[in-house]
Symmetry: C2
Subunit: 305 residues, 2 copies
Amino acid sequence: MSILVTGSIALDSVKTPLASGEDLLGGSASYAALAASFFTPVKLVGIVGDDFPKANIDLFRSRGIDLEGLQIVPGKTFRWSGEYHWDLNTRDTLSVDLNVFADFQPKLPLSYTDTPFVLLANIAPSLQIHVLDQMERPRFVIADTMDLWIHTAKAELLQLLTRVDMLILNDSEARELTGETSLIKAGNRIRSMGPQYVVVKKGEHGSLLFGPHHFFSCGAYPLEDIHDPTGAGDTFAGGLTGWLAAHVGGDVTFADLRKAVVYGSVLASYNVESFSMDRLQRLSMEDIEARYTLFKAMSEFEVLG
Amino acid sequence: MSILVTGSIALDSVKTPLASGEDLLGGSASYAALAASFFTPVKLVGIVGDDFPKANIDLFRSRGIDLEGLQIVPGKTFRWSGEYHWDLNTRDTLSVDLNVFADFQPKLPLSYTDTPFVLLANIAPSLQIHVLDQMERPRFVIADTMDLWIHTAKAELLQLLTRVDMLILNDSEARELTGETSLIKAGNRIRSMGPQYVVVKKGEHGSLLFGPHHFFSCGAYPLEDIHDPTGAGDTFAGGLTGWLAAHVGGDVTFADLRKAVVYGSVLASYNVESFSMDRLQRLSMEDIEARYTLFKAMSEFEVLG
């Protein structure tokens, strides 16, 4: 089944200890849509300016991404610039220019409104709600968020939580949102705020999936070298939702979600191994399946031999 | 098969945000021996003063631990005192009094020298080597260590590494010992220093097991409340080695070590749930097997239903 992805579409300027680049395709929806497109047809909702390079449009098209919901308006595309510290665990945001994004009012094409799976990638909760308002009873809605919205738009975020099936956020955000230091308590607390399922991402330590009756602890795929963490969380969310939409026929089960979390981790692990979207662009389904198999073997408690 | 455990035997004074106690049974060998005793006969090598409470001797005896290698000498038992911060992730050592431990020269009873499995729990590497020198070709030797020895006795530690089958250490120690920020690189680098196998413990995030051809990523058992982290690493090492000695007939395989790491994690997870050794003392094999089963279920990528 197809998925709708909304979020930011940006031109990023990124500097890591080993590489740098200007006006690179970025934004939560770009990474998420590209990751999801390996598994299922994607419909993109977002906004860019008339400076948005045609090469990026071509890239989306080459992945079969439906762009009817992409608004191209006069003005400049949203721009973000950041620099990573030597260990790649922390970064400084150098500048954020909302540009055309400042007046974004998502308007869904009619062909989008009955999309069964929805990924509200990281943008302001009010925009995520605005998209959701236009949907006709989606089967499964996943939202991603970030610390900025916990600090500046908590009321809208809490409202959003009552309307989604799953929230994805990282460990420090889960602690901030709930005031709990234990991630186990934090995950369960967030479930009581609305979403049936919660994923807490722990960066290099993997992720935790919380559900009504089950819990899943997923280690991280072991990487020797990380080159650029930009978009890792968005790629995880896109891979997770895309795999789910492609493989779930009836109701979404916890068993489905376990595998979806692992596929999200696999996509994210590839993404951070190269600068910008380089690796995602030349990824194949064979690469994805090979790493899934290896990852599973590395995490099994009991094996033969 | 039986295991020999050496390390420190101490009287601890511990203060956590919720509890405190004086002259509690502690030390790396005490926790490790108790944990191992759930699986297999244990022979203890260590030293205490004549102030060592008889109740502690009785506790060891009640777990079937062989005390022929325990020296009881005139003077005071090794004492350690520490206080945990509010989040239990950091602690201050308030005092260390070596007392009788200062002149400890481990002397193995003849009945100990052919013990097939050896756990050199955390003490000075020179003492670990001294014990190893008295052993007749043990089948599998595991050493635990800590940052103190990396800083003050690195030469001896490096010498020890060439003589053990497995080293256990935590993430920051692995980084300090190798200068690598990536734990994957650090684990592999330590293997090149001698041990065939390395376990890197990541606290609440689980552990990583490195071998010649395989890698195992073990998440942590999800705990809502941690009461006292004292002895967690020693309990992990003891549970791991004890399970291995009890269940391995021929050569130790990577499949054996995976399960041993999980059993070590299970023992450690119980230990930190209560103050001091309270939980370890009233633990049963049924408790251990129940948590192993649950832990496995929580970590599986693919399940039915």
